[in-house]
């Protein structure tokens, strides 16, 4: 049934061990990981001088499967609207790399993995992570794949934060950083939402101080509540109104405390579905990385990129209240003050934060235009060696 699999067709997640006891990963926090496995996918073909690669950084709950189809799945990868032949990130042109984050739970090493020192799952003994640690691991994958230079690093939400961090730490690696619906510094409200999600998990009686894997149980109630609440922040009033309004879940309303409104059924489904693909410990670790992310805090933060100017595309959606346009403007303000070439757009969309995953034509056209732009900054202070 090849016809079912449009776009990239069937894609496959691979795994590679990027750090081992002989070459351990030293984290920003000082801890060391003796084994780091990374799950990744690639699409398209690397060109002869290994310079047409585009790196995709996923958001909080994404995975390596960004585009194309896994056999038997009802849906393609999470960013199939963006990536594929002729699409905004055109696989006829670019060699696309997408990996699962360190600390994740979909093939890459994370707190649910086995700690080689004990033979048991890491649990809360897994070290705290930093946005820069993700970048370090991404770079190791890039080197492993023989890529010389990245045409672009692209990410939405927490993926955009990785793209930003990467561009500031190692501007020489990339031509363009695409930062969509992201933030350079979470607001108190953002942190508050994350905190409630984590509390729901930690206070679940099955959390067992993070040792639930060994005890063959899972904090499913906590994790699904965390997801339900977070999901509300990913959409918008207008989006919910259009999708559900006050429609009842069943033909007749049945007043009581069960699922009676359609929006309640939807949230319950979101919570349940999340349990099949996500781990409570990864949720704790990854949300915490975002809370502490503040890359412009250091006065010297922009020195490296100022000397080797990356091109930026920063985008927000007007109905996104999780990472609002004001948060994108903050990024633009910093980058523009450093006299970097920055393009910024606020895209109209009623669908809130999740808009970055959807087919919104002006948004996708802008990404395509930036990646394929005819830039020649030779002779200007933006020219690069």
């Amino acid at each position: 049934m090849a016809a079912t699999y449009d776009g990239l067709g069937v894609t496959e997640t691979k795994k590679v061990t990027l750090f081992d006891p002989a070459h351990p990963l030293t984290l920003v926090g000082g801890d060391q990981l003796d084994e780091v496995v990374v799950a990744y996918e690639t699409y398209g073909t690397l060109n002869e001088d290994a310079s047409n690669a585009v790196y995709i950084c996923h958001a909080l709950t994404g995975d390596a499967h960004a585009a194309g189809w896994h056999p038997g799945d009802k849906h393609p990868g999470w960013w199939d609207t963006m990536i594929g032949p002729g699409k905004a990130i055109d696989t006829n042109r670019w060699f696309v790399i997408s990996s699962n984050l360190l600390g994740g739970c979909q093939g890459s090493t994370g707190p649910g993995s086995i700690n080689p020192a004990t033979g048991k799952p890491w649990g809360l003994d897994f070290p705290l992570l930093d946005m820069s640690d993700f970048v370090t691991v991404h770079r190791a994958l890039v080197a492993h794949l023989g890529v010389r230079k990245l045409h672009a690093v692209v990410g939405g939400s927490m993926g955009g934060m990785q793209a930003l961090q990467w561009s500031l730490s190692y501007p020489q690696d990339l031509g363009i950083a695409v930062i969509i619906a992201a933030s350079s510094r979470l607001t108190a409200q953002n942190i508050a939402f994350s905190a409630v999600g984590r509390e729901a998990i930690i206070r679940d009686e099955n959390f067992r101080d993070g040792r639930f894997c060994e005890q063959e149980t899972r904090p499913d109630v906590g994790l699904s509540i965390a997801r339900m609440m977070a999901h509300i922040t990913y959409t918008s009033e207008e989006g919910f109104q259009a999708k559900f309004g006050r429609k009842p879940q069943h033909k007749e309303s049945a007043p009581g405390f069960g699922v009676d409104f359609a929006v309640e059924g939807y949230l319950e489904h979101q919570g349940e579905a999340f349990l099949t693909r996500f781990d409570a410990l990864s949720y704790l670790y990854l949300t915490r990385v975002m809370d502490y992310f503040d890359p412009f805090a250091e006065p010297s933060a922009l020195d490296a990129v100022r000397a080797d100017p990356v091109r930026y595309l920063v985008m927000s959606f007007d109905s996104d209240w999780r990472f609002s346009t004001e948060q994108s403007r903050r990024i633009v303000r910093r980058l523009a003050a450093a006299e970097l070439p920055v393009t910024f757009r606020e895209i109209h969309s009623p669908w809130g934060h999740d808009s970055f995953l959807l087919k919104i034509d002006p948004y996708l056209a802008t990404v395509k235009a930036v990646l394929e732009a005819d830039t020649d900054y030779r002779g200007t202070v933006w020219s690069r060696t």
Partner: protein, 213 residues
């Protein structure tokens, strides 16, 4: 960069005049940059860097495809995005009459860069006066809209405009009256308020010596 290319190659006529007043290597902010024609030319031929501001979808994409960095913000309310003195030149081409408060926009521009280039259609141009005498609001190539559907909120003649520059502490370094075709007029300043269809102004901060630039 090809420094010997004259602005007369490839550039729209009024943009040629603007380009001639932008020193090589300048950081340029172009408010209402359209499809990025001016900035793209300045980047390629004058070693400039810069940012355009535009909101029309097709023009935004055209400018981006040319490699012109482009920021989608509201000129009336969001110019605070740019730090003081973060540019050398700010260009506002045929837009001042369409912003809500020209005085506030000019003040923001003055904060962002020491040198401003502003073009403005002249409502005192004689055919407009004739139209008014005939009982109708002016319409022309420069002012093609009906009164109810025009983006132009403010109607000023050149001699109305100039006191505004003084009020916001801008000094007129140059005024270049243009013909209806966008060329500098052969007659220069002579009778400009009556005979020029539009004018380009080069402005500097009043408290600042323009030779320092």
């Amino acid at each position: 960069m090809e420094p010997n290319v004259s602005p007369s190659i490839e550039l729209r006529r009024d943009l040629q005049v603007i380009a001639r007043n932008i020193p090589a290597g300048s950081r340029v902010l172009d408010l209402g940059c359209g499809d990025g024609e001016l900035l793209s030319w300045l980047i390629r031929h004058r070693a400039c860097t810069g940012t355009g501001i535009e909101r029309e979808e097709e023009k935004v994409l055209a400018a981006i495809k040319r490699g012109v960095p482009l920021v989608e913000v509201d000129i009336d309310s969001q110019l605070d995005l740019f730090a003081p003195d973060s540019y050398d030149v700010v260009v506002l081409s045929r837009t001042l009459q369409a912003v809500l408060r020209p005085d506030l926009v000019l003040t923001q521009m003055r904060r962002i860069a020491p040198r401003l280039i502003v073009t403005m259609p002249n409502f005192g141009f004689w055919p407009h006066r004739l139209r008014l005498l005939s009982g109708h609001m002016p319409r022309s190539k420069d002012l093609p809209y009906s009164w109810y559907a025009t983006p132009n909120l403010h109607h000023a003649t050149l001699i109305d405009l100039e006191p505004l520059f003084r009020d916001v502490e801008l000094k007129q370094e140059k005024r270049i009256p243009l013909s209806p075709h966008g060329n500098p007029r052969a007659l220069g300043q002579f009778g400009a308020n009556l005979l020029a269809a539009s004018a380009i102004y080069v402005l500097v901060r009043a408290d600042q010596d323009p030779t320092r630039l």
